[in-house]
Assembly symmetry: C2
Homo-oligomer: 315 residues x 2
Amino acid sequence: MEPGLADIRAAAARIAGHVHRTPVITCAALDALSGAHLFFKCENLQKVGAFKMRGATNAVLSLGPQEAACGVATHSSGNHAQALALAARTRGIPAYIVMPTSAPAVKRAAVAGYGAEIIPCEPTLAAREAMLAEVVARTGAAFIPPYDDDRIIAGQGTAALELAEDVPGLEWVLCPVGGGGLLAGTALAFAALEPGARVVGAEPAGADDTARSLAAGRRLPAVDPRSICDGLLTSVGERNFAIIAKHVQAVWTVDDAQVVAAMRLVFERMKLVVEPSAVIGLAAALGRRGELSGCRVGIILSGGNVDLDRLPWLS
Amino acid sequence: MEPGLADIRAAAARIAGHVHRTPVITCAALDALSGAHLFFKCENLQKVGAFKMRGATNAVLSLGPQEAACGVATHSSGNHAQALALAARTRGIPAYIVMPTSAPAVKRAAVAGYGAEIIPCEPTLAAREAMLAEVVARTGAAFIPPYDDDRIIAGQGTAALELAEDVPGLEWVLCPVGGGGLLAGTALAFAALEPGARVVGAEPAGADDTARSLAAGRRLPAVDPRSICDGLLTSVGERNFAIIAKHVQAVWTVDDAQVVAAMRLVFERMKLVVEPSAVIGLAAALGRRGELSGCRVGIILSGGNVDLDRLPWLS
């Protein structure tokens, strides 16, 4: 049974006060460039710099007192790790984060800064899963997956709930897809609230497992995914794919050069710091001017955690 | 007779719909670093990327139909030029912008992009003023000064009006000071609306004419000003200084290294693109932790027009 609007509303009530209600920002210059009316939901301005704070907070606050007492655990080198660490601190319970030794020092420092215990492991999925099993066995912590989880999907859907409330009458909604937590939550929210809106996933051409899966009618894994969008390299999750296949209009793919150009535009014209994964919806919109012409288009800017010493337009 | 709250309110009504009501953003990480509760008024998210859009729009819309018919003119290489160009286009009248030949190509392109006519001149104040007089004589355009003007001061004060409405009970307000349009407008607004708030100017140590002027009790010009804050190198204006001397608590100076550190923090923790001049209030707050400890502090982030190929932390 997939989560529904009631679960997203419950998540919104649960996480209120622990996450930001992020602003929706418009930009005349990007409207002119795209030929459409773009409404950007700024999850880069969310706590920990990414929408991941919504799902992690919802999952942590959904645990019963007994479950929560032993803390939470996950494996992640990215935004989910920081989000879970902060959500656990909010509730006053331990967080155990299995991180590959290849993770950048700045991400390890951020996770440690939120008070989580970091358990290093080899940078393979097998090693991460084995180490996580060990940690869960040792501590009794509850595993909080990054995307393939109803609590996570409902939590991520709260961004779309706010977007639909703040901007009535959207005709398109463009949303990044990696593991599919954000896209699934967004699709569920709009299917219930604004069924006329076409929800579209935006995916890197070099990590297009969701587009291929939709074409094949079954979930296909990502094979050697490569993209500057480091948040979108994971394969789409099982629960996520079922929801996406049912509620999403299409998945559009975008190459890395389009992503870098869109990222620079957002820095320059919107004055927002965004990570590559965050602008893939805008990149898709700029590549599909004909289809969106004159329409009201919601775009979710998913996060802003980017290495400021290595911005991709600086060679 | 200095402008008052009624003028600022009239300006707000006049420019509504032509400028953004910018969001106020908070940041737990910067609260922790500063030991205070910081409320950032995000004028980097304003049209043309700076608060200058407020004053320029107010001045252009204040002109009578006859005055407006021949257009507007100014000399500027910075944000005022872009703001005046866009405000004139909004009203459908010509704008003539005298720009020094030393102005970066990207700024010339932005002004031209808003449909203004650019008149190049030598990069000295004397050459700029002489060329402006010529342009005004030739075209009959109305001169709109960048800061030493009641319409500009009232327009810039609308940012403070919104800040005071959105965040009641501020105890301090930190605001950049260059020519003094923004600081004068901010001081007037808070003197009327929230007289308990202490309004403080923040100024580069290498361009500290306002601080020296306050100490001397009379307006002293900037002498060979040098700072990374390219928007704050001008001497404080006459009208502006009179208002500042009356309503501003103090002017605190900040060195460029503090500005660069604050700028990096805003990019990294707030996910906002800001120019050096914009973060001088935050830099001042971080240098005066003792005085602001535990207080509610408003900080005006004045703009975001920075060269993204030359961010100052990248050597």
